[in-house]
Symmetry: C2
Subunit: 286 residues, 2 copies
C-alpha cells in the first residue's frame, strides 16, 4: 500500500474560494463534509460518500465555539489536525479547510441564526446554544465552499434534521445527504468523545446501542411509548450510566412526540446519557 499524497490545507476563506473556483471553472462538482476534526472511521465514511457523489471533496476542520456553552468541553475537545489531514487524504478528500476562530468570527461579527421545529426538545433542552451555533457555522461553511452536496452522519440525528430544515428554509442551494452511523464491532457508535472513556466506561458505553435497539423493536411492535421509554431509561441506568438527559421515541423527521403514545408513522429513538464527565448520544430507526 502506498502512502497517500499529502492533503492541501487552506486556512482562509479567500484561499478556499480560489481552489473551489478553479474546480468549478473545470466543470467539476463539489462535495463537502463539515467536521470538528478528531476524525475517526465515521467521518471517513462521510468523506467516501461525498466522493461517490461529487468530483471533488472538501472537509472542513473547525471546532466551532458558537455551538458550545461556557460549561461544555470546547477547551478539551480533541485537536489533531496533522493526523486528520493524513486520514482525510487516505479517504479520498481533496482539500481540508481549517480556519481560525478569528477567520470565522472577526471583530464586529453580529449575525445569528435560530431554528425552531426539529431543534426544539431533546438536545435543544440540554444544549440550548448548540443548534443555533451549528446553523450559523454550517450556513457560513456552505456559503464559503458553495458545495453541490454535503454529507452528515446520522449519529447526530437531530442535528441532521435541523440542518435539513434550515437548508430548506434559507434556500441554500446544496443537497443534504444523511449517512448511517458507523459502529464498532459491539455496536458502539463511533464518536470523538469516546476518546475520553476509560476501559471500564467503554464497556458500559457499549450497552447503550443494544438497549436502544431493544426499545426500538418494542415501539415498532406497538408497545405504548411511555412504557418503552421508561424501561429503556431504567436499563441505561442499570447498565452503569450515571445520568440520562433524555431517551425518547419521536417522529422521524420533525422530531415531534407521538401524541397517542404509540408509533403510527416513521419514528426514531434517541438518547443522551453521561458516563463521568462524558456525554454520549446515540439513536436508532424504529
Amino acid at each position: 500500500m502506498t502512502e497517500p499524497a499529502s492533503l492541501p490545507v487552506v486556512h482562509t476563506v479567500a484561499d478556499l474560494r480560489a481552489v473551489v473556483r478553479d474546480w468549478k471553472r473545470q466543470g467539476l462538482t463539489v462535495g463537502m463534509v463539515p467536521t470538528m476534526g478528531a476524525l475517526h472511521e465515521g467521518h471517513l465514511t462521510l468523506v467516501r460518500e461525498a466522493g461517490r457523489r461529487a468530483d471533488r471533496v472538501v472537509a472542513s476542520n473547525f471546532v466551532n465555539p458558537t455551538q458550545f456553552a461556557a460549561n461544555e468541553d470546547l477547551g478539551r475537545y480533541p485537536r489533531r489536525q496533522e493526523e486528520d489531514a493524513r486520514l482525510l487524504a487516505g479517504a479520498g478528500c481533496h482539500l481540508m479547510f481549517a480556519p481560525t476562530p478569528e477567520e470565522m468570527y472577526p471583530q464586529g461579527f453580529a449575525t445569528s441564526v435560530a431554528v425552531a421545529g426539529p431543534a426544539l426538545g431533546l438536545e435543544g433542552d440540554f444544549r440550548p446554544q448548540m443548534f443555533g451555533g451549528v446553523a450559523l457555522v454550517v450556513t457560513k461553511l456552505f456559503n464559503q465552499v458553495q458545495p453541490d452536496v454535503a454529507v452528515f452522519g446520522e449519529k447526530d440525528y437531530q442535528q441532521l434534521m435541523v440542518i435539513r430544515r434550515f437548508v430548506r428554509d434559507l434556500d441554500l442551494p446544496v443537497e443534504i445527504i444523511g449517512a448511517p452511523t458507523q459502529r464498532d464491532e459491539t455496536g458502539l457508535a463511533l464518536s470523538s468523545r469516546n476518546d475520553y472513556l476509560s476501559d471500564a466506561e467503554l464497556a458500559v458505553a457499549r450497552r447503550l446501542n443494544v438497549i436502544l435497539a431493544e426499545a426500538a423493536a418494542g415501539a415498532a411492535a406497538g408497545r405504548p411509548l411511555p412504557g418503552v421509554e421508561r424501561d429503556a431509561y431504567s436499563a441505561i441506568l442499570k447498565a452503569g450510566f450515571e445520568r440520562i438527559d433524555y431517551v425518547a421515541v419521536r417522529h422521524a423527521e420533525d422530531l415531534s412526540p407521538f401524541r397517542d403514545g404509540v408509533v403510527d408513522a416513521p419514528a426514531r429513538i434517541l438518547a443522551a446519557a453521561w458516563l463521568g464527565k462524558t456525554r454520549l448520544i446515540d439513536n436508532r430507526a424504529v
Copy 2:
C-alpha cells in the same frame, strides 16, 4: 419611443432557478434588486445600476410579511404588480420574481436570522421585527437567485448597513452596492409610502430633507451633536410633523453614537417622523 417588451415573471423558486441556471450556463453575470413592489423612480435607478454591473437583472417583488409588526401597514402597503412589471421592463430588467407568501414561508418553516451591531437602535428601537425580517428574506432571495451583485438604495440607509453586515457575517457570495437616494425636485426622498400623503402632508414632508441637510452641515462644521439633534427635532415638529421617532447623527458604517458628542469620523444623520398614519424616513451624509 417604443413600448418595452413585456417582462417575464416567475412565481416559484424552481422557475426562477431554471432561468438563472440558463443565464449562468451562458456565462452571463446576474444582478439583483430586491423590492416590495409599488415601484417608483428610486427603484428604477437601482435596476439601471444593476444593469450597468451585470449582464442580466432580476427584480424581486414581494411584500415580506416577516418584516412587518402586527400593528404596521402590511395590509395597506400598495400592491400593483402589472404596473411594476411594465416599469421594470422599461428600466432594463430581465425577470421579475414575484413569489407568494406560501412559496417563501411554507408550512413548517422554522428558521430565523438576527443581526445586532448596526441593527441596534434607530429603526431597531421602533420596528424591532424589521431587520430580522429583512435579513431572513434577503438571505433567502440571495440563495434563490445567487446573484453576483445586488443593489440597495441609501434611502433605507440603516437597512443597507445591516445587509452589508450579515452578508459579510454569513459569507454570502454577493457584492452589495449602495445607490444614492432618489429625490423629487424639492429634495423629498422618493418612497412608496409617499402615496399615502395628502397634498398638505406632502408640503410638510418636503421640509424633512432640508432640515436634515442643515443639521448635517452644522455637525460637519463641528457643532456639538446634542444641540444639532435638539434643533433638528424642534424644526421637524415646527414644520408640521406630528411625532418623531428619532433624529440622530451616527457613525456612517456601524451606526454607533459619537461618544464625544462631535463628529470626528464619517457620519450620517438619520430621522424617522410621522405625518398622520404615515411614517417617513430620510438620511443624509454628514
